[in-house]
């Protein structure tokens, strides 16, 4: 078992040597992940894991990719997407240009879901969708528009539950165990690595989605990231978080209005 002190030592090593800052992450979740990597890569002792991380750049890359949880789904929490479809997207329609940022987009399932809804609303053409993540490996998948085919039944059910009016199967073709999204859906997507801890605001957006990323951060880091989103939102922009995340305890709460009961807030000034 890795102890709390050992975990802190590793995080400090990684920060000092490579500049990746995980110090403000929730320890409980990181502890599970490090424990898992430790077992998976069969390290005989903590000292050996530490030595490997200090001396092997390639291993560090692998370690950091394994440290983050990348689980995602299309149309996860269908009621959330229903609200996006019915209350958020229509109010973006009159804009000459729509800018959306998926922060911590992982392999892209959330981006694909929003792109489908934009296309159905006839707005995809004038939209620009930024997908960013700390983990470069997952972003390659976003660009290719790939989704595991065995998930498509579930995603199709989610899509229907979110109020999707079309036949979901028209949005992809099956190819060797993968579903490939229609190219139209990924044409407007720009991907880039971006670290919410250390990188700054890079544009102004009408809608920012950052779902199930803040749960991995401690309160201070959450406040820092919410502040970054505040700086990156247009005056009446929307912020969407995961279904168990909230801005309630942050300074933002007073000038954002929630679209109850979803975790979507609109900036009011």
């Amino acid at each position: 078992m890795i102890t709390d002190t050992e975990l802190t030592t590793l995080l400090e090593d990684i920060y000092r040597q490579y500049g990746y800052d995980f110090i403000g992450y929730s320890k409980s979740s990181l502890h599970r992940r490090v424990q898992r990597i430790f077992a998976m890569d069969k390290f005989p002792s903590f000292a050996e894991l530490r030595y490997k991380l200090l001396t092997d750049d390639l291993y560090v890359k692998h370690f950091i990719e394994e440290l983050t949880v990348n689980v995602t789904e299309m149309f996860r929490d269908p009621h959330f997407y229903k609200t996006l479809r019915e209350q958020v997207i229509p109010s973006l329609a009159s804009k000459p240009f729509i800018r959306i940022w998926h922060a911590g987009c992982s392999t892209g399932e959330e981006i694909f879901s929003v792109a489908i809804m934009l296309q159905e609303a006839g707005l995809l053409e004038k939209s620009l969708i930024y997908g960013t993540d700390l983990n470069a490996k997952v972003l390659a998948n976003v660009r290719r528009g790939l989704v595991p085919i065995d998930q498509m039944k579930k995603y199709s059910e989610n899509y229907i539950a979110s109020g999707g009016p079309k036949d979901f199967s028209q949005y992809y073709t099956a190819h060797y165990g993968q579903a490939i999204l229609n190219q139209k859906l990924t044409e407007k997507v720009i991907t880039s690595t971006h670290n919410l801890v250390s990188d700054s605001s890079f544009n102004e957006f009408d809608l920012i989605l950052c779902r199930n990323v803040l749960i991995y951060f401690n309160k201070n880091l959450q406040d820092h990231v919410l502040d970054l989103f505040d700086k990156s939102l247009s005056p009446l922009g929307f912020l969407a978080l995961g279904s168990k995340e909230t801005i309630r305890f942050s300074g933002l709460a007073t000038y954002y209005q929630q679209i109850q009961p979803e975790k979507i807030w609109r900036k009011t000034q």
């Binding site: 320890k27 409980s28 992940r33 949880v69 199930n212 401690n218 995961g242 168990k244 909230t246």
Partner: protein, 191 residues
């Protein structure tokens, strides 16, 4: 404002199929303001049972709260792990959620919370494993015991689905086997 006293003890109850009837016999009978924090980790069916927390609240005198990210622990309250997240303890005062892969086909997984509780609360952890049809929970009980905490399994004879408690018994990962009455009185004398 007065600060909450640091939670002295954490009780985690893990249940799957057949556990709700047990909880309905135990939780409403708990003495008011019990001096520990009680956490429920139940296998749930996706988002389709979002009323579980309302149902529990209707039956219990202690408040039942579905945990949100970084929720604070309070004594005398019951916390329900939300569906589709693993529930962890960040420290003795704070919960934390995690949406990593399912364990034993389950999210929340009982093992995950038991292990995290053992890590943070050590000997002040009590794990109780109820009725269920899979093998979640027994590894977590082993971790609670290794940390000096207490592991209780529901008597399989009193369980609608005996598999889950039986697995823990077969692996010898328990301190006591208890029927529903015994679980209730254990929780009522615990201080």
């Amino acid at each position: 404002m007065e600060k909450n006293p640091v939670t002295p003890k954490l009780v985690v109850i893990g249940g799957s199929a057949g556990s709700l009837t047990v909880l309905f016999q135990v939780l409403p009978e708990l003495r008011p303001s019990f001096p520990y924090t009680l956490v429920l980790v139940l296998h749930r069916k996706g988002g389709s049972d979002s009323h579980l927390v309302d149902l529990l609240n209707a039956k219990c005198t202690a408040p039942v709260i579905e945990v949100e990210d970084k929720e604070a622990l309070q004594i005398g309250q019951i916390y329900l792990a939300p569906s589709d997240y693993h529930l962890l303890l960040e420290d003795r005062a704070t919960f934390c959620l995690d949406d990593d892969e399912k364990i034993h086909y389950s999210r929340p997984s009982i093992d995950v919370t038991f292990e995290s509780a053992a890590h943070v609360f050590g000997k002040d952890t009590v794990g109780i494993l109820l009725s269920g049809a899979n093998d979640d929970g027994s590894e977590g009980l082993a971790r609670i015991r290794a940390a000096g905490g207490m592991a209780i399994v529901q008597d399989p004879n009193s369980a609608q689905m005996p598999v889950m408690p039986q697995v823990a018994i077969d692996k010898n990962h328990y301190d006591y086997v208890a029927d529903i009455d015994q679980i209730r009185s254990y929780l009522n004398q615990l201080s």
